[in-house]
Symmetry: C3
Subunit: 269 residues, 3 copies
């Protein structure tokens, strides 16, 4: 599998895919720079008046609800069908989906439109799956990660999509198969927007023509390996963020193949 | 007093408070990263549809009018009462309050809702106090800092809040007592969002359970000491901003106690 | 000409012009920091309720359509006439003008209001000039740069403005004269917002009292020389972005005079 991720990275670098992002104001700059560093071409186009005109010309669409507003939700409702109609794959990041009813409704509405990949942390995936209530009431609360993996498998099968649950070890599943991605570094949790960056990179690999499972695994492995290299250069979260962009830019396919820690995992659910 | 600030930092690190930010698009990323670096957990939630659902679950709320729009003002009008009703403390940053009538009206409307802490520079505090006109007409114009300190004391007493006036030496007052914070570095004025970062850090200390005066003093001392350390590593404003996040992350309570320059000051007014 | 650019930089540093930016959410932080680093004073004020009150007090106005929304377009329609009425020069950045009809209409509407300087890449200038269709249909498609330079000259004459076409070599023209600016570094294309930063710096030079041609040449030379110096310190796009702010801050007039590569160019068109 590491060699497939490395081949995907080479493919991305040749394709320089145009990635259309409808994303939050906190990470817009960070994810645009990560996309540029890895070799993609980002475009941040978010007005409801224009997203449907733009999305069909992109190689992939990234939809992120991190600082969702009503106008931005209307834009997403126009962009996603336009992308689908044009055969443009898209990825959904349901940031903090369980935090408010507004956000949960939007995340579930978008998930039902069947993105190629849905990426979130355990809480977000449980929320989108409608299983956060069970978790918060303490059912199997000692194993939120296992619960989220099982919820991911059910979501993936129900929608026919790939679901990626990120954490200390990332878990990618299409409901039948699953892959664990064991790269990364704790400093990723001390910089804002790293989950959103994972989603954007998955968008870049979708834009390079990879199917959902392969795009999600390649995106998460690329970010994780780059993070490991960046952490070796960093004195804290500020210098880590800088070194991460340098590492994404410098990462070559053979190094990714050598460092990616990928393994089959139980699909669960 | 330095030992109290150090104890506050230890308390913050244990509490990892969830800080809800309704803030401006220029600094959203910067303040989220500063909150993560210092040990808090930031959430940027700004839609009027959801802020009242989210604010009660936060440990503190930060309201910043830096790029205020009408929808964002409506969100603030919902978030603040929801936070107050739930006993969640909040801090107000009246960015450029005197620059336009729209901004001044919003800043004064928010201040009247009695934040735990109001933080601004001398001009902003004078504007909120309704005394900017006197300053601009030259009354005591040779002493804008002294004027702002006096206005801060009057505002603090009238509203029953803590007011922090930041500058070369910061001044924190509840109208009866005042503390001078003499940390910091000139490079703080060459990077955007450093005042907003001070406000966000004050929010983190409020979220850790500190009362207004203690939270403001601890927040400003923490930023000031981290800035001094970062400046020693920096070659200019770019590397300073990076080193500041590293320094916030690395700063330990004993170092803060040793470096904080805090002194009682005349309350004035 | 290098000495004129150097004199312009000295003038900017003395004037510390207040630059009002109505800009996109991706680059707001980056351009504010670049303006601070070079010696200007940025203000990001974008609400339609207040821009007309603020713009007359600025030294220059920057209008950037990178993440244009309908409310932001209404704000631009209020800010530009207010700036013009007060004699405040302004610069337009028609980001991705050709990407959608919404964006193209806005860019052309704004350009017709005659900014002191219009800055874009070759595609953007061709779009604003209404000549992108010819390019995309392959007319002279082997020479898009030459086509854009010709279109720039026609636009400049028709509107009585300065047009800057940025690329590997930048081209600045008022329709009669033209100057080539041959500074810069390929890493500028691997960091988001560098074109927007060029536009913001041109705004700073306009705010220092320079006329359009001189402001555009000085802004592009300053960014280009700073980029060359930053690239010498950088390990990739992350560290380049940091080093660029340091270099803008450290750049002195004699160094700019020594390193600026400026030459007369055929005005074309």
């Amino acid at each position: 599998m590491p060699r497939q991720a490395a081949a995907a990275l080479e493919r991305l670098r040749l394709a320089t895919p145009l990635v259309h992002n409808i994303t939050n104001v906190v990470v817009a700059n960070v994810t645009a720079n990560a996309l540029l560093a890895v070799g993609a071409s980002p475009a941040m186009v978010q007005a409801e008046e224009e997203v449907a005109d733009f999305a069909p010309h992109a190689a992939a669409l990234v939809v992120n609800i991190g600082t969702l507003t009503a106008p931005q939700l209307r834009a997403m409702r126009r962009a996603v069908p336009a992308a689908r109609a044009a055969g443009v794959p898209w990825v959904l990041d349901p940031v903090a989906a369980g935090a408010t009813p507004f956000r949960l409704a939007a995340a579930q509405e978008m998930a039902a439109l069947r993105p190629a990949v849905l990426r979130g942390n355990a809480s977000e995936i449980l929320a989108v799956a409608g299983e956060a209530g069970l978790a918060s009431r303490g059912v199997d609360s000692a194993h939120p990660t296992a619960m989220a993996h099982a919820a991911a498998a059910r979501l993936a099968r129900a929608l026919g999509i790939t679901v990626a649950v990120t954490g200390a070890v990332d878990h990618v599943t299409d409901g039948e198969r699953a892959v664990a991605v064991a790269n990364g570094h704790p400093l990723l949790t001390r910089v804002t927007g790293m989950g959103c960056t994972a989603t954007a990179l998955i968008g870049a690999f979708l834009g390079a023509g990879l199917p959902g499972m392969a795009a999600a695994v390649a995106g998460l492995a690329t970010l994780g390996v780059a993070a490991e290299r960046a952490a070796g250069q960093a004195c804290g979260p500020g210098s880590f963020q800088v070194a991460l962009l340098d590492a994404l830019h410098a990462l070559e396919a053979p190094a990714l193949a050598a460092s990616a820690r990928l393994a089959p995992a139980p699909a669960g659910g």
